[in-house]
């Protein structure tokens, strides 16, 4: 943890010190970004992965899916920036026909390259961009309120691709919006404890469902 803080600190210093004569927005190369990601309701999703649970279960309609992410973005040249993003995901749902509630959380760490569209004269970090991203995902959850019925995913590797746009207001605030497409089922394992097998599959569906297509809006800060 200390190491990460040190790296971030040095990145920040490196970004701020040459800020007068460097690329970026008026020399500001580093910015912090918070994104809120949400999913328009896509129902009855059938996961394509082979889960180690009851294959005859019916799948629930997910009720609400959203996630939060915090990213540190560093402009490397006129049209590109590199970033590291940490994403927190929460989900909940109802398993039918038994009407069993479940909920859970997930964590991501992503590394991305944001390419601002040179032909549209977008100059990092302002304007339209394309963002390929590679992620490591882990999630866990429980059925009802019992801590005994839990499930945990193994580490998953995902690829994402975003199309978005950033705006800057008041010279220091960054507004971000876009749409993200993801593939997260490249490699998947799941560990299920006790009776949790009833909710594990819909939970996985919910997580993956959320990540296939995401809309997001965010706000950031150019120090």
């Amino acid at each position: 943890m200390k190491r990460s803080i040190c790296i971030l600190f040095f990145l920040f210093i490196a970004a701020v010190l040459p800020a007068q004569k460097a690329p970026g927005y008026r020399g500001h190369r580093l910015f912090l970004l918070y994104d809120f990601q949400f999913h328009p309701d896509i129902s009855h999703y059938t996961p394509s992965i082979n889960l180690l649970v009851n294959a005859n279960a019916s799948y629930p309609k997910t009720t609400f899916l959203y996630s939060h992410s915090v990213a540190l973005d560093y402009v490397i040249n006129r049209h590109s920036s590199l970033g590291l993003s940490a994403q927190f995901l929460s989900f909940s749902g109802t398993y039918t026909p038994e009407t069993i509630n479940y909920n859970g959380t997930g964590y991501y760490v992503s590394f991305y390259l944001r390419r601002f569209k040179a032909r549209k004269n977008a100059i990092a970090p302002l304007g339209k961009y394309l963002k390929p991203e590679i992620s490591m995902l882990y999630y866990s959850g429980m059925q009802g309120t019992s801590a005994m019925t839990t499930f945990h995913s193994g580490p998953q590797v995902g690829l994402s691709y975003s199309v978005g746009r950033t705006y800057i207001v008041f010279n220091h605030l960054v507004i971000d919006r876009g749409i993200r497409f993801s593939l997260l089922n490249l490699y998947h394992t799941m560990e299920v404890r006790d009776q949790g097998h009833q909710s594990a599959e819909p939970a996985a569906a919910a997580v993956l469902n959320n990540q296939y297509v995401n809309l997001y809006v965010g706000i950031g800060l150019l120090p």
Binding site: Q20, K21, A22, P23, Y25, R26, G27, N77, R78, H79, S80, A118, K120, N121, I123, L126, G127, K128, Y167, I168, V169, N171
Partner: protein, 772 residues
């Protein structure tokens, strides 16, 4: 759309209706519509030299007032008169003031120079009995070769130097001013606009609308002629001037005088043009005064002349009337200055043949005038440069396109004696044009003891053309004069014929050689040079005996041998290799200080007629100036702004500098992607670079469009950075940004631009290897 040209009312040549559709282009390059000249308050000795005209004294109020202030003041006057067309009048007045403001502060308008002072005295004479009207008017002279005059509803009257150069007397000028005064008094501009609005609102038939607009305009012109005559009658000017004023208009397309251009003008004992390089007879002047005027804003000349002369003949007596009331000598002096200025303007417009012919005309009276000699040298250089096709530094991108490439006007489209000049340059090959230019320039350079700073780079550039494009060196030219060669050959032939045994196999037995020897003998007898196809062979015979000439020529040959190419003339292909890296990291120019020339900002409501949003434009220019100031500082760029919109009354010198800068830039734009060609006023730019402490001059501007061809919104950003000391464009981009011109977007782009200026150049691999 109803543009500024039709909003002002002009005296001279009719305005084509096609120009009405070029509004956006006019916005971008409106600054450069009138090309330039300068007047100098101090009297100059034209027998020796000519200094371009410049303004003097304090900047007039109209020059320093903000256009919004002017609009506000005019708006109050309009609103005080309750009228059903109030809104239309306000709209028109606002745009009209904006356009006038742009024109007045373009740097092409002179004030308080000797010509302006004189024409104002003529206006005083006309209105000596109408002081209230005189007090509302401001008359300025515009540096333009166009034979025209304009009046605006806000009391601004403009008269071009091109028109002044063509006049024969003061009375003609007075009649033209009367014509313009009628336009002003009758508010023809705004009435034409109201008529246009009325037609547009009440009819969907655009074709008939267009015709109706032109009919209305022609009626206004006729009224200005006839009512102008009535005003002219109140003066004591000679009525004969009315007739001759129409002659001026009819033949305005010709140079300011007609004299035969002699074949011997460029010739001497070592340079003789082949006979077929000159026309036996130039095309006669066939101008027709009864042309079809149905698509013109003005009636044809015959109709105008007859409508006025009809009134004149029946009622006017000429006794006691004079051609000059203010001053004949001032008129002649002003006209002469305007003619000298015309030579410069032709150079700036790349009208090289006209520049040479005009200088030739003036040389008849001022044979020793250095300015005229330099005009000819520069014009010859320009022609040579453009004859050397596919050569030189080509800076081709979306700003400098191949479309803007210069072409000499076809000689068969030219009438009168000046056709001879066009024909000569049509016949000359690139090598011949270069040799002619170098010979003329070097001889002039020599006569000035090699100290002239304008001629030295011209000669160097011509040497480079010869060495690089024509692959010629000193050894390719004869060191003997034509007559010496003829003499030697003839002696050889004669000697051989006297000793037939010496070489019976060659000369004596060769029929064709014997014929040639006989011809040479004839040449020797008559001393008349023979027309040879390659007349350039002997052109440097005397110059090669000049050590300076030979050494300079050899210097370029050696440099080519050493480097393979000359620094300033390398192909732009080399630079394109770095294009990918530049896209990624931007350019790295290592510039610390720039001179920013009048940044412009336009906000256009692109809803069909692309109207300017004047309030948005006024706010936008303030925002743009602030953005540039902040971002230049952030990027570490120091800058000096030369912006007439921010000048105070005492900054006339800076205004004159601005005018020179605009002249240079206008010419550079006309040169298009030919970056290696020297501009005609390049030395003046070097002096300005020294004065402002930087050779880097930046032209930039923003056009913001709402609902345009870009989609819902978009912004164009133009940036051109020149190193004016070597005339090289270092940075030229027109950015089409698919975003609203928010402060952040402008900051992002201008910081990026200034950052690229300031970044230190990266070392190339080859350089690194050498360093290591």
């Amino acid at each position: 759309m109803y543009n500024a040209i039709t909003r002002s009312v002009s005296y001279g040549n009719p305005v084509s209706s096609a120009t009405v559709k070029r509004y956006l282009f006019r916005i971008v390059f409106g600054l450069f519509l009138f090309l330039t000249g300068f007047s100098f308050a101090v009297a100059q000795d034209l027998t020796k030299n000519y200094s371009r005209l410049s303004s003097s004294g304090n900047l007039p109020t109209f020059f320093v007032e903000n256009f919004q202030t002017k609009i506000k003041a005019e708006g109050e006057i309009i609103r005080s008169k309750n009228d059903s067309t109030l809104r239309e009048r306000e709209d028109f007045t606002s745009e009209n003031i904006f356009d006038t403001d742009r024109l007045i502060r373009s740097g092409n308008v002179l004030f308080n120079d000797s010509i302006s002072r004189y024409v104002n005295r003529v206006l005083d004479e006309i209105l000596k009995n109408d002081v209230p009207l005189r007090s509302k008017l401001q008359l300025f002279v515009v540096k333009s070769v166009s034979t025209n005059a304009f009046s605006f509803d806000n009391g601004i009257i403009l008269i071009n130097t091109g028109l002044l150069s063509q006049l024969e007397n003061e009375a003609e000028l007075a009649f033209i001013l009367c014509h313009e005064l009628v336009h002003y008094r009758k508010r023809h501009s705004v009435n034409a606009y109201l008529n246009y609005v009325n037609l547009t609102n009440n009819s969907y038939r655009k074709t008939s609308n267009h015709e109706a607009v032109l009919n209305y305009s022609r009626d206004q012109e006729t009224e200005a002629d006839t009512a102008g005559l009535a005003m002219f009658r109140t003066t004591s000017y000679d009525y004969c001037a009315v007739r001759s004023a129409f002659d001026v208009m009819q033949y305005a397309y010709l140079p300011f005088d007609e004299q035969p251009f002699p074949k011997t003008f460029f010739e001497d004992k070592n340079l003789k043009f082949p006979a077929d390089y000159f026309l036996d007879k130039t095309a006669s002047i066939k101008n027709e005064d009864n042309y079809d005027d149905s698509k013109s804003t003005h009636p044809n000349i015959r109709k105008r002349r007859s409508s006025v002369l009809r009134l004149l003949d029946s009622t006017c007596y000429n006794s006691g009337r004079k051609r000059f009331l203010v001053s004949e000598s001032s008129f002649l002096r002003s006209r002469e200055l305007a003619r000298f200025e015309t030579c410069s303007l032709y150079l700036l417009n790349l009208d090289y043949a006209d520049a040479i012919y005009s200088a030739f005309l003036l040389q008849q009276r001022y044979p020793d005038n250095l300015f005229l000699k330099k005009v000819i040298a520069k014009a010859l250089y320009g022609i040579a440069a453009y004859k050397e096709t596919n050569y030189g530094t080509h800076f081709k991108n979306d700003v400098f396109s191949a479309d803007s490439r210069y072409e000499l006007k076809a000689y068969d489209q030219v009438e009168g004696y000046s056709q001879q000049v066009y024909y000569l340059f049509h016949k000359l090959s690139s090598e011949e044009a270069t040799v002619l230019a170098l010979r003329y320039s070097w001889k002039l350079h020599t006569s000035l003891d090699y100290r002239d700073k304008e001629l030295a780079p011209i000669c160097d550039s011509l040497f480079a053309f010869l060495v690089m494009a024509e692959r010629k060196g000193p050894s390719d030219f004869s060191t003997k004069t034509r007559l010496e060669v003829i003499h030697d050959d003839s002696l050889l032939a004669l000697t051989t014929s006297h000793h037939p045994a010496s070489d019976t196999a060659s000369i004596a037995s060769n029929k064709y050689e014997r014929i040639k020897a006989e011809q040479r003998k004839d040449g020797l007898k008559t001393d008349e040079p023979v027309d040879l196809a390659d007349f350039t062979e002997y052109a440097f015979a005397d110059l090669l005996k000049d050590k300076n000439f030979s050494a300079r020529f050899q210097f370029f040959v050696n440099r080519k041998a050493e480097k393979g190419s000359l620094d300033n003339y390398e192909s732009y292909q080399e630079k394109e290799k770095d294009a990918h890296r530049e896209l990624k990291n931007g350019k790295a120019l290592g510039v610390n200080k720039v001179v920013i020339v009048e940044p412009f900002y336009y906000r256009v409501k692109a809803e069909g007629n692309q109207k300017l949003d004047l309030d948005g434009t006024a706010k936008g220019i303030l925002e743009l100036r602030k953005t540039i100031k902040e971002d230049a500082a952030k990027a570490g760029i120091d800058y000096v702004a030369i912006d007439p919109q921010q000048m105070t009354a005492g900054e006339t010198d800076r205004y004159n500098d601005f005018s020179k800068i605009n002249d240079w830039f206008s010419e550079r734009l006309l040169h298009g992607y030919h970056a290696g060609i020297l501009a005609s006023c390049s030395e003046e730019m070097k002096q300005l670079a020294a004065r402002y402490g930087s050779p880097y001059f930046l032209w930039t501007g923003v056009i913001s469009m709402h609902k345009g061809s870009l989609g819902s919104k978009g912004t164009f950003i133009y940036v051109v950075l020149y190193d004016v000391t070597n005339e090289t464009p270092l940075f030229a981009e027109s950015r089409q940004v698919h975003m609203k011109d928010s402060p952040a977007m402008l900051h992002s782009n201008f910081y990026d631009i200034f950052h690229q200026f300031h970044q230190q150049p990266r070392k190339k691999k080859a350089d690194k290897a050498i360093t290591n």
